[in-house]
């Protein structure tokens, strides 16, 4: 018995030693990418690991965006955080509020011996992920902007022009009604992320205020304002269309994408990052810019969505060096342009954008420049720089609850938005500790 035990122990010990001698520094990367985008993550990690032998990036899928953020926070509290965590746009305010928990990406890059040059990155994106003083806090991995997708076969069957996507919301609603009444599809229109697309981007794109203090970019003390008349009118139209199924609700995040790829709904507003799955489905689709409400000076510009990579504090220097090397790898023009072209996310560096343009990619693939043009077309106003709340995920949940109850016919748009603002304001005040 004793001999068996000792031999087991010694084997285990030798195995451990062998693996530690061979192992490169491991860098865990927690992410929330599914489907086609998950394959991109694995591919990138594989290429990076094969390109050098000092570091090994290990991607770990942690669920939806909110789940990944929560897993990261729980891991930090348990003193076991990953080196890199992908945090979605709404979580940026949460991460920024935790100065002691994270290391700004600008510092990480310098620790790794790389120079951080802000001018290389797309200005709108860098501004969104930076502190008010300009320090870039996180690495913009996948930036997206909401756009309109439509099913060309359904459009043709409904007698609509399959070459011109609807431009304004009124046109979208009319097209949706035609699709439904002609029987071309069971449902005319659906949308992912009612919060991010129909509220946050709706505000920026139509140059309306979402909340006070530049939607929270100026200060954490924000009074929400998205119960103003244009929002009420917009949501009431959606609620009315939902009554006979012309609008179908898919869920709180990107579930509605399935309603579009399955041919159930003819029109979809979704992140440009959803493109990978739509291409994969093999359907005949067209792309248009995000619809707006007709009016003077509109559309304005959209705000960046998607997610960025944050680096947790308390790691070893070797790990930070590895993270910096990895981020530097990701910033390469060839990687960024490929990422952009296969996934629909925006390139984060100017060089990658220029190269894609030069390659003639946009001429061959009309509509693929749309998310970039939307975001960079006009200099942002105080309504369109972004939305930043210390508890935006919670405020979004409150809105989702009220929207669901509205779409179920239990309340009208005015009540839903008024309640969202009231409950949201209370949650913000509690979160900033007043």
């Amino acid at each position: 018995m004793k001999t068996v035990l000792t031999s087991v122990l010694s084997t285990a010990a030798s195995l451990l030693m062998a693996s530690s001698a061979l192992a490169a520094t491991e860098i865990s990367w927690w992410h929330a990418m599914t489907g086609a985008n998950n394959e991109v993550v694995d591919q990138l990690a594989k290429e990076f690991n094969e390109s050098q032998s000092d570091y090994k990036v290990v991607p770990v899928f942690k669920g939806t965006y909110p789940e990944t953020l929560n897993a990261g926070i729980a891991a930090f509290r348990a003193k076991q955080p990953p080196a890199i965590i992908q945090v979605f746009d709404a979580g940026s305010g949460v991460m920024m509020g935790a100065e002691g928990a994270i290391v700004p990406v600008a510092d990480v890059l310098e620790k790794g011996g790389f120079k951080f040059d802000k001018a290389q990155y797309l200005p709108g994106i860098v501004a969104y992920y930076s502190k008010p003083d300009g320090t870039m806090l996180s690495f913009p991995y996948n930036s997206s902007s909401p756009i309109l997708y439509y099913n060309k076969d359904v459009f043709e069957k409904a007698g609509l022009n399959a070459d011109t996507p609807p431009k304004t919301w009124d046109e979208v609603f009319d097209a949706a009604k035609t699709i439904k009444s002609s029987g071309a599809a069971n449902c005319g229109f659906t949308s992912t992320w009612l919060t991010w697309i129909q509220t946050e981007n709706f505000a920026a794109w139509n140059n309306l205020s979402y909340g006070s203090n530049e939607n929270g970019l100026g200060s954490t003390d924000v009074k929400l304002a998205f119960n103003a008349e244009p929002f009420v009118k917009h949501f009431q139209s959606i609620a009315d269309l939902a009554k006979d199924g012309t609008f179908r609700y898919g869920g709180r995040t990107s579930e509605a994408k399935q309603l579009f790829t399955s041919g159930e709904c003819g029109i979809l507003t979704e992140s440009s990052g959803g493109l990978g799955d739509i291409i994969k489905s093999g359907m005949k689709y067209g792309i248009g810019q995000l619809p707006y409400v007709e009016g003077e000076g509109r559309p304005q510009n959209t705000i960046p969505g998607g997610a960025s990579l944050w680096v947790f504090g308390g790691k070893s220097d070797a790990e930070y060096k590895g993270v910096a090397t990895f981020f530097n790898f990701l910033s390469q023009t060839k990687i960024q342009s490929r990422l952009h072209q296969v996934s629909g996310y925006m390139p984060v560096t100017m060089a990658a954008y220029e190269e894609t343009k030069k390659s003639g990619f946009y001429d061959k693939n009309p509509g693929r420049e749309t998310p970039l043009l939307q975001m960079m077309g006009k200099p942002p106003t105080e309504n369109s720089k972004g939305v930043r709340l210390v508890n935006l995920p919670q405020v979004r949940d409150i809105m989702n609850e009220e929207f669901e109850s509205m779409l179920a016919g239990k309340q009208d748009a005015k009540a839903a938005l008024d309640k969202s603002v009231e409950r949201g304001n209370a949650a913000i005040q509690q979160a900033i500790g007043k």
Binding site: N70, V94, A98, R252, P393
Partner: protein, 293 residues
Amino acid sequence: MQSTVFPNKILPYFLVAPQIVLTVVFFFWPASQALYQSAMREDPFGLQSTFVGLANFTTILSDANYLHALRVTVVFSVATALLSMGIALLLATAADLVVRGKGFYRTMMIIPYAVAPAVAGMLWLFMFNPAMGTFAYILRRNGIAWDPLLNGDQAMALVVVAAAWKQISYNFLFFVAGLQAIPKSLLEAASIDGARGSRRFWTIVFPLLAPTTFFLLVVNTVYAFFDTFGIIHSVTGGGPAKATETLVYKVYNDGFVNLNLGSSAAQSVILMVIVIALTAFQFRFVERRVHYA
């Protein structure tokens, strides 16, 4: 009560030590942490915390959403327990009549119990998901406006069915055992007296099954209260508009999604009190009234 005396003075302590250690590590320690947290207000990352006394408790108890979650929990638990026990009893009495391949039938019936709650939830979600579920498609085709993403009652029905389905096997097992313990002579005597199937069931089988039924009622209630998180999380996520948010789900949601740890801890302390009360009630009053055959 007969008491055994150990000749050795230390051995008994040594023998109970593992159990004590487990209880301390897995109950007293986390419970004391919850008590401590429930009196604090803390930022999500745990970088700063302040003592707030009973403020978290007063906030919860005056919160309409909390009372709503309580109501949801009661509806959910009662519906789940009744549905799963009812079906299990039906299946158990049917399986009792099977002559050939008894073992095979029973084994097949027990399999769902081996399925993890989250997986059970996903199974039902795949069937009834309004975007891609086969059954959802059939329901809509037949003119039923099936949309659990927006209709709270339908969402509740879906989680109740998923939770009950998973528990049927467990109940089935106990009911089968209970049925086997009923003396055949009683049933034969009743048959000779001219009692038909349903009469034999209600006057002999059901009363004699009472201890099993009572035991299962408690187990099922506790299951519905505390073990169904995985199902709710994967099927509805507490939605739509909080229609399926039970007390346990709210603890998770407030703590891990809204990152309000103080409130979440205070809610779990209240849950702890509820469990202690339920258990005490069970042992003290109800259990004594059941007729043990």
